[in-house]
């Protein structure tokens, strides 16, 4: 339970960064933290104490392997989720650079004032 609490704390930190920070790059960092937290949550859900990676090696007994490995499905989901997070980050950085080019600032408040 402590572990889950820490994951939710990480989630809260990311959310705070995304919503409350003025600087766009800080917002992007908040989003990266948020993604990290969600991915960690998924992996934690699939974790089983004392069990190993879901990779079958030559010579392993399949039945014993199935008993000694963590849940593989969340890992497949996290792989997809990491990729999505990366895609969103890249497009966000492109937007931030373009906005910096247009307004000369990355501060969302100052941007609002410049627009008038």
């Amino acid at each position: 339970m402590t572990f889950y609490c820490l994951i939710f704390a990480l989630l809260a930190v990311g959310l705070y960064g995304l919503l409350a920070k003025r600087n766009m790059l800080k917002k992007i960092l908040g989003l990266v933290i948020l993604d990290n937290a969600v991915n960690l949550l998924l992996i934690a859900v699939g974790y089983r104490s004392g069990k190993g990676a879901p990779i079958l090696l030559p010579g392993d007994d399949p039945a014993a392997f199935a008993r000694s490995s963590v849940d593989p499905l969340p890992q497949a989901l996290v792989l997809t989720s990491i990729v999505i997070g990366l895609g969103v980050t890249m497009i966000l950085v492109a937007m931030a650079l373009r906005l910096h080019q247009r307004y000369g600032t990355l501060d969302v408040d100052r941007m609002d004032r410049l627009k008038g």
């Binding site: 990676a53 990779i55 090696l57 990729v83 492109a94 650079l97 373009r98 080019q101």
Partner: protein, 155 residues
């Protein structure tokens, strides 16, 4: 003057020359054997993109292998994506979309799952080329958007 034309110091260039091919080989290996060991097409593709990024940083955006790759990156990305889609669509010949239609070899060898190997390589190509294209456009943002006085930057 833009930094990227100059690249970095001679030492970095030499190191990059030595590292570039091993990085690509490592990336390909991660992709090729993704169905047996940790890793896969995505991780391998990112490694390869990193190799070209390193070359770009070391040699600048105008010399070395990176500009050639950059020119073809978008097309290669499309080819990778179409390969994946094509493999999936050929599954219809076996009955269903996405069905593994290739024959299978002995377990724990490269040939144990040719379908997965081809898919991994398609993703590797797609992700490697795509991320590199994305990276270049973000790093050379001013040149890409034509904001500098110099025209004709090839985004």
């Amino acid at each position: 003057m833009p930094r990227e034309r100059d690249g970095l110091s001679a030492i970095v260039r030499v190191v990059t020359q030595w590292l570039f091919v091993p990085i690509l080989v490592y990336g390909l290996g991660v992709g090729f054997f993704g169905h047996l060991t940790p890793g896969g097409g995505f991780a391998g593709g990112v490694v390869i993109a990193c190799g070209f990024v390193l070359a770009t940083i070391a040699f600048g955006g105008r010399t070395g292998p990176a500009p050639v790759f950059h020119r073809w990156a978008a097309s290669l990305e499309a080819v990778g994506a179409m390969t994946y889609l094509g493999m999936a669509a050929l599954g219809w010949s076996a009955g269903h979309f996405m069905q593994a239609w290739t024959p299978r070899g002995e377990d724990f060898t490269l040939a144990s799952a040719p379908f997965l190997v081809v898919l991994n390589l398609a993703i590797l190509l797609k992700v490697g080329a795509g991320l590199f294209a994305g990276f270049m456009v973000l790093v050379l943002f001013d040149r890409a958007t034509g904001a500098t006085a110099r025209e004709g930057g090839d985004a």
